[in-house]
């Protein structure tokens, strides 16, 4: 264990801990743009610089391990000046359209500019003008808003293990892009949206959230209905409507990972093909009925058959898509109310 002081507070952490993690332990938030606890340390954005007494230069807190007796200042004048300059440099090459940006309210760049009172850039000069990728209806890529933190690249390579996107070119021309700058498509991308999940700015957007501000939604934690992996995620609800899905680091199986189905399925709920009234077939046509009529019809027809042919003349398919509670009740219903063991479910795999 190592003892050190951060902003005048004593901390005791295991050797090998970084300054950033040590600070987090005692509730000190060191700003960062390219750091992510699930990814390899990149140390490229330099937002997390701190002053270490006795060191000549400012140190990046995400990559500097603690030393015994270290004295660290995370918001000293020098530090704040450095951070402001970094932000000003980023803004110099960033569209000034926060007012209409989808990411407003959930953008790290915006948050830190607010925190350090940076409202414009003194640096003027050439700006990027790259075409926005609107080629699919799930993910929008606006490279003009990219701050080159590299998180999307890492997530796509190391967590999703697909490698759709990467850095190309150098210096001012450095970009994150796809092979041959192709728009995202199913041949090169799995549409898992994990890159969107880690992007600190509005460069990568989940289109389903367009028109919704982050503070308008409430989140309901649930389990994915599509495959046996059982990922957890949050349904984002606005005015009694599911807007879309976000991942949560608290998910025990999947962490912040999701696949295309879990992340982008929400319009399934609002398919115009959903049936919302009971139907009874009369003369070969379905006609709308009340629950009372429909359930009475089922109960009486079942009873006639039980009386005439016995309980075993009725059989039920339960569902691998329904909940445990519903499956339990279905077999209970068949075994008690109907009186047969004829219950099974599809896909006996």
């Amino acid at each position: 264990m190592v003892d050190l002081t951060i902003d005048g507070k004593a901390v005791n952490v295991p050797a090998g801990t970084t300054i950033l993690e040590a600070a987090q332990n005692i509730g000190i938030d060191i700003p960062n743009l390219c750091y992510d606890k699930d990814l390899t340390v990149f140390g490229g954005c330099r937002m997390c610089v701190v002053e270490v007494e006795g060191a000549r230069n400012l140190q990046t807190a995400c990559s500097t391990p603690v030393n015994p007796g270290m004295v660290v200042w995370t918001e000293s004048e020098r530090v704040v000046k450095a951070r402001r300059m970094i932000l000003e440099l980023l803004l110099a090459n960033h569209p000034s359209e926060c007012i209409i940006c989808e990411k407003t309210g959930d953008c790290r760049l915006q948050d830190y500019c607010y925190r350090y009172g940076v409202k414009e850039s003194p640096y003027t000069g050439e700006r990027r003008e790259v075409e926005i990728d609107r080629g699919n209806h799930l993910i929008e890529r606006d490279p003009n808003k990219c701050i080159l933190c590299g998180k999307c690249v890492q997530v796509c390579h190391d967590i999703q293990v697909t490698g759709t996107i990467d850095f190309v070119d150098r210096g001012f021309y450095t970009r994150v892009t796809t092979p041959y700058d192709l728009p995202l498509n199913t041949d090169i991308c799995r549409f898992c949206g994990q890159c969107v999940g880690v992007c600190p700015t509005g460069a990568l957007i989940n289109k389903q959230f367009k028109g919704t501000r982050p503070w308008e939604v409430s989140k309901v934690r649930t389990t994915c209905p599509f495959c046996g992996v059982g990922c957890n995620f949050d349904l984002n609800v606005k005015e009694e409507r599911v807007i879309g899905v976000t991942a949560t680091p608290e998910a025990p199986v999947n962490g912040r990972s999701l696949c295309v189905k879990g992340r982008f399925h929400k319009d399934l709920l609002y398919s115009p093909e959903r049936i919302t009234t009971p139907l009874i077939k009369r003369d070969g046509e379905f006609v709308e009925a009340s629950w009372e009529e429909a359930l009475e019809e089922v109960a009486s027809r079942f009873k006639v058959i039980i009386d005439r042919d016995g309980s075993d003349a009725i059989a039920a398919l339960s569902s691998a898509r329904c909940t445990n509670e519903e499956n339990f009740l279905m077999q209970k219903f068949m075994r008690t109310a109907v009186g047969t063991n004829n219950v099974d479910h599809c896909a006996r795999t």
Partner: protein, 545 residues
């Protein structure tokens, strides 16, 4: 899961998803995990690329996992048992078996050897098409690595010999001592989100919840007392038997909740005839599915986001499902509909909430005995979880098996029921695609437009023979039916093989497959059947469906 239940006494994924990345060897057979179980697929790829694990992939197609593999055994579809017997033969004769483990934990070794001795590598290779050297390399790598797990999905269970396939994988894991330890085991990856739960809850003809046999007098008595009714001990019908009974007139009525057998069960025409022949059919679902069209009464159900409950995932983890929004219009949760209907049939079922149902499940089901909504509020628990202070179980069969000793069995290879011949020269094999999940995702426009239609995969050699190219349309015909589909020409499949999914109702692959059933598990033979292909000349399919 009949196979694992016979071998170990319990049929579920033995290890946990979180352990996957820490396997040193992953033996992946007939599992296209990156498509069917994407997050597990990612962990497997990550094990290989980031952690340096070695993947042994057994698959007739060059799947994404095959691309990441150290050894890819491209077997002829349907020959798994011959291959596995060959591997066990090598392991035993080379002295790589774990005899101490076999001695202590297993029985039936002599039975196993009596069969396996007739599968020297040369013979196994001839049947499966996998080169002998590759078999040696795979056998050595798997047997000699401590943390080596087996993973399989539909690929291996959806065969007439599915149950036997699973038991032979259990053999392989037991002779090498890869059971009851972390990052190893035999791991079936369950297809649908709650197949595990539906089985656990006793939605099966022969067992109550927690696999308590209806035929066991103690269980019967327990449930009769809890439910206050005399219960039937007559053997219940499995799906194929139900459909058979419906077709023959023995089964008069069916109640289908949240399933679409016309689209998902093999031999769609047979299923349609069976449903049409019923006197009375009730369908309860979100949509008027292909099967629901035959219903006399349709009951509109709430979807997962509109109700409370739990799902049990493939690693036995019981997790919460929460109501986020109200159901549309008059739709109601399945559990509410069941309670209402039961009352009208003269058997009162009253629950204020699914939490109350879980309380009853907990009391009647030993493996769920410690599971309450409070305990799984944040993180789900993995069964067995017998008591309220039990932390749940990450991996099974440590020290002992539920049946005592693990059962080694000699399993003979039997060729698939239908193999290509002169008239139907191509082998059809089916599977899943990432974007879609069975039939549900077709109702999501976002997902459907990403991947709007079936693109059957055929080898360039076969494509050239009938003069077609990428995105052309072909007619695929079997003894049972005929469908039109677009194609993708790729050498991911071998010559003589065509690969289709069963996600699209416009090109329904299960019109072609046949209803030969695994005699034990009653799983349909989706995987292999014989077809012929020709260029489609009639009315083209619509541009996108």
């Amino acid at each position: 899961m009949a196979g694992l239940a016979t071998s170990f006494g319990s049929g579920a994924m033995t290890n946990s998803i979180g352990e996957i990345e820490f396997n040193e060897v992953l033996f992946i057979i007939g599992s296209n995990a990156t498509e069917a179980h994407p997050i597990i697929g990612n962990k497997m790829k990550r094990a290989a690329t980031v952690r340096g694990a070695k993947l042994i992939v057994v698959d007739p197609r060059e799947t994404e996992l095959a691309e990441h593999s150290t050894i890819w055994m491209r077997l002829t579809p349907g020959t798994d048992i011959a291959l596995i017997n060959g591997l066990i033969h090598i392991i035993i004769t080379e002295g790589w078996a774990d005899h101490a483990y076999i001695e202590e934990r297993c029985e039936g070794y002599d039975d196993l050897w009596a069969v396996v001795k007739d599968y020297p590598p040369e013979r196994a290779s001839k049947i499966s098409g996998v080169p002998v050297e590759q078999m040696y390399a795979a056998a050595e790598l798997y047997a000699k690595t401590e943390k080596a797990g087996i993973f399989y999905t539909l690929g291996i269970t959806e065969h007439t010999t599915g149950t036997a396939n699973v038991m032979s994988l259990a053999n392989l894991a037991m002779v090498t001592g890869h059971m009851g330890v972390e990052s190893a085991g035999v791991n079936p990856l369950r297809g649908q989100n709650n197949v595990q739960g539906a089985c656990d809850m006793g939605a099966l003809p022969n067992v109550f919840s927690g696999y308590q046999a209806v035929a066991n007098p103690d269980s019967l008595k327990k449930f009769e007392e809890a439910w206050g009714r005399k219960l039937s001990t007559a053997k219940g019908l499995t799906i194929p038997d139900m459909l058979e009974g419906a077709a023959s007139g023995k089964v008069k009525a069916m109640y289908i909740m949240g399933e679409d057998p016309v689209l998902t069960d093999p031999d769609a025409n047979h299923v349609r005839k069976a449903l049409a022949n019923l006197e009375f059919l009730v369908a309860q679902d979100l949509f008027l599915s292909e099967s629901a069209l035959y219903a006399d009464v349709f009951l509109p159900a709430a979807c997962y986001a509109e109700k409370d409950g739990t799902f049990t995932n493939t690693e036995r983890r019981v997790q919460r499902v929460r109501r986020a929004v109200p159901p549309p219009g008059g739709a109601r949760a399945d559990w509410e509909i069941l309670c209402d209907l039961s009352g009208r049939m003269g058997y009162e079922m009253h629950y204020d909430s699914p939490a109350e149902i879980m309380e009853e499940i907990r009391r009647l089901t030993p493996s769920y005995g410690g599971i309450t909504y409070e305990r799984i509020e944040k993180v789900g628990l993995q069964w067995p979880c017998p008591t309220l202070d039990h932390p749940g179980t990450r991996y099974l069969h440590k020290g002992t098996f539920p049946r005592g000793k693990g059962l080694l069995q000699g399993i003979e290879y039997k060729p698939a029921e239908e193999l290509p011949d002169e008239e139907y020269p191509i082998l059809l094999t089916t599977g899943r695609k990432l974007i879609h999940y069975n039939v549900m995702t077709r109702y999501s426009d976002s997902l459907l437009t990403l991947d709007p239609y079936e693109r059957a995969e055929i080898n360039p050699v076969d494509a050239e023979k009938i003069g077609v190219g990428d995105d052309d349309q072909i007619r695929v015909t079997s003894r049972r039916g005929s469908v039109v589909t677009r194609i993708r020409v790729t050498d991911k499949v071998s010559p003589g093989v065509i690969f289709m999914t069963f996600h699209y109702k416009e090109s329904p692959a299960n019109e072609l497959t046949h209803a030969a059933f695994d005699p034990i598990a009653k799983t349909g033979e989706y995987k292999v059947c014989a077809v012929k292909i020709e260029k489609h000349t009639g009315e083209p399919l619509p541009a996108a469906n």
